[in-house]
Symmetry: C2
Subunit: 216 residues, 2 copies
Amino acid sequence: MEPLPPRPTGDPTLKRMPLYLRILKEMQEQGCAYASGVVVAQLLDLDPIVVRKDLAATGVIGKPRLGFPVGSLIMAIEEFLGWRNTMDAVLVGVGSLGTALIKYDGFKQHGLQIVAAFDTDRRKVGKRVAGKVILPVSELTGVVRKLGIQLGILTVPADAAQAVVDQMVKGGIKGIWNFTPVRLHVPDTVILKREDLAAGLAILSYRLHQAGKKTK
Amino acid sequence: MEPLPPRPTGDPTLKRMPLYLRILKEMQEQGCAYASGVVVAQLLDLDPIVVRKDLAATGVIGKPRLGFPVGSLIMAIEEFLGWRNTMDAVLVGVGSLGTALIKYDGFKQHGLQIVAAFDTDRRKVGKRVAGKVILPVSELTGVVRKLGIQLGILTVPADAAQAVVDQMVKGGIKGIWNFTPVRLHVPDTVILKREDLAAGLAILSYRLHQAGKKTK
DNA sequence: GCGTAATCGATACGAACGTATCGATTGACT
DNA sequence: AGTCAATCGATACGTTCGTATCGATTACGC
């Protein structure tokens, strides 16, 4: 009756899904009908077993000696991630990072569409970025509620983060993609995801620092 | 003789270090001399035990009933991550994301300084972004070698990534912060760190998708 | 038509991380 | 000065993820 997820899927698997998607689309363009887990693993520097396990989570069954059907697999992953029906999002904080995200046109491939941008700076309000008019934050709650926006992208300075989030929540937002270094407080019905550049940099500089010490 | 890392530190701990640093600096500004692991944990929504374990990795010892000395701890974490001596970096690919990173002035707090920017687009070469002149990629290798650049920040389109990286490696780069979705091939002396926006979005949309299903 | 080889799928093992528990230490209050 | 309570530090447990091994399946070649 329920052929889908027998058990909850972990974050590591989810993180790799976009990688598979990318490779599979490349293979599809080249006319490949089937993709074996071994080949995909080689292209991504992954363990073949991990690939098979991850792809199994989509429910698609592979044929021995051939691999997984590329077309079905692409659709299954997109469906799995919820990337087939586009999700409407608002972005708050049209600084340099916010601008970069608005201009990025790859989001539509990920089922994401930024339908409105907000900022507190009166000098920015009314201007256009990538065809979108910047609105004042005072209208945030109303727009979120009226358009039934599901996702809020947060690219404001740290000290403004919580206040903006409160407005989003008041409008009935479902999830928040947080690019600030702040831990936000929201009702547990709202799903949070923090994107931490400093964390990545910390790992990198630690490794570099260690490597420098050893060769010294 | 060697009071430092008794055993290798894992990624999860490293990722949390910037969080501690941020909170501790706030507390320092407020005049706190000591910070207990419990308080820090509360401010970050973390388990107190995790905080103590992480902070123990820095080598700083805490006093019972008081906590950890804030000043020493900040210096220890910065030293631990290699954020005390600034690291020189080059950025390649002055698109919207690259521009955002160049303009971001918080990197100096993380011991990072972008000393040069590169692009292939002749229309961009020669222009200035945040005070830095954009140079042609043909000069990349030479600049990296001459200035002894340690870190390369990669914000180019996917199909140009590997070629640029080869130029960096030829110049003797030590590490690469990769913002493209491509798996790069480098000698194992070069440290790679990939920053994957799609991965974060995948987790978020999966969760949203699941939540939407259940309430349906 | 049959053997071969390669892939999938399931099960079992090991390492790393998060969580829980315990004793030791020490500042604070009476 | 003595008692109390809170925190640190170390040890032990459980879960999750990555890795390894095994059998089942099936396309390809002879």
